[in-house]
Amino acid sequence: MEQELISKKELLDLMGISYGQLYRWKRKDLIPEEWFIRKSTFTGQETFFPREKILSRIEQIKQLKDDLSLDELARRFSPDPADIALSGEDMVNRSIVSEQAWRVYRLEHPNTKVCSFRDVVFASVVHRALASGNVGLDEARNALRTLEQSITMFSDFRMRIACVRKLGVSVWVVQGTDGQLVIDPDAKLVFDADVSECIEDVKLRLM
């Protein structure tokens, strides 16, 4: 997946921040290490960032840094905010899930009223799958089951989920983020999502 990159120099000019601030935020884990992409250019080694992610992150940091300490900010951005509990309406209101996706979630878990962070992430994956338009309701429900069963394997959410369909039969596949998936040439990759990206998205909407 090619994403648009922004160089460090351009980023500093665009956002009006200094090297010191950028390095301080990196130290406080406000900017994940993976976003620092090193590439060699004709002027030597340069650092690049995924453009959209870094711009929105720095915008948030700049807005919030006067009210919150850097450590508090880091806690907000950290991958597992443990004390999150959202009801279905909350999630729909914050447009983490659509109503349709929430109904699918309720089919699978009829008694659930409040969702933990993990459940919110899974519901958002279901939402993404439905929103893509390629995945049916039953299939989305199966995705939820697959995710819940596979989470023991990937405790840190670093995984991708994909839906492969051949002759009308669909299968959900969960893999590590660094793994490559090669499928039968006759089969079709119907849907593909990075769970850690869904988490980023959920966190943005939670703020």
Binding site: K9, S18, Y19, G20, Y23, R24, R27
Partner: protein, 268 residues
């Protein structure tokens, strides 16, 4: 078993014992412990081998000690040579005098390295003080790093304050709020990122030969002497004596003192 009062263990001469739960452990001479050792206080003199993990409230080692497992301690004093194959986790102060090898990383509140120490994995502490030679092969995280002597860093180094008087070698990024380096010897760093940077040459007859070779320096306020750099980028940059930079990119202010050579100067 827990209701019993733990006994003391004394070994003198050529002794060996099984691990277990003890109150005080005194080891003198050539001692071998087989299994995990849990105690309140551990004092060892002479040659000690622990084939297992060690957990102690306070521990002191004099002489040569090998622990083939993890060490978890409230505080640890090491005089002489020490080799820990597992993780070393110290709640308060870890003092190492002499030569030590911590092969699987160290966590402590305060780490004092006097002598020579090699850490083979991640090193996390609030404060790291080095008087001698420290080789930290992987990432280092601390609030304050203070080194007099030689510091060799193999990975990323993150600190709020970073002081070094002596030699500094790093094959990764040094990222700190404030960096102050006084050069006594040839040094090399791949990358420096900071808010305040001050690199000065040391004193003495050969001081002018002691250069710091660095690929890239990025910071807000930069003052450098005796630095050979490919690139220096920042807001306010001053290059002093003995500096050779291929390219400087500054925003607000650039000063060049007598005896500095600069290839290209760009204001961005």
């Amino acid at each position: 078993m827990q209701t019993e009062v733990a006994h003391d263990l004394h070994l003198s001469g050529n002794g060996s014992a099984m691990g277990g739960i003890y109150r005080m452990v005194h080891l003198e001479g050539l001692s071998t412990i087989d299994g995990d050792l849990v105690c309140e206080q551990c004092a060892a003199h002479g040659v000690v081998r622990v084939h297992g993990n060690l957990r102690a409230e306070t521990s002191a080692f004099h002489g040569k000690a090998d622990v083939f497992g993890d060490v978890v301690a409230g505080s640890a004093d090491i005089h002489g040579s020490m080799n820990i194959s597992g993780v070393c986790d110290v709640q308060k102060t870890l003092r190492m005098h002499g030569s030590s090898r911590l092969q699987n990383g160290v966590h402590a509140e305060v780490i004092h390295i006097h002598g020579r120490t090699h850490v083979g994995a991640e090193c996390v502490a609030r404060e790291i003080e080095v008087r001698g030679i420290a080789q930290l092969a992987k990432d280092v995280r601390a609030e304050r790093i203070d080194c007099n002597g030689v510091l060799r860093l193999g990975g990323l180094c993150e600190a709020e304050e970073f002081f070094c008087r002596g030699q500094l070698h790093s094959s990764g990024l040094i990222n700190a709020e404030k960096i102050h380096i006084r050069l006594h010897g040839k040094s090399g760093v791949q990358e420096i990122g900071c808010t305040d940077l001050r690199i000065e040459r040391g004193h003495g007859f050969f001081a002018r030969r002691h250069k710091l070779v660095v690929d890239m320096i990025e910071g807000d306020h930069i003052y450098v002497e005796n630095v050979v750099a490919k690139r220096i980028r920042g807001n306010r940059i001053t290059v002093g004596h003995g500096v050779y930079v291929e390219r400087v990119e500054y925003r607000e202010e650039f000063k060049r003192q007598h005896g500095a050579r600069v290839g290209e100067i760009v204001q961005v």
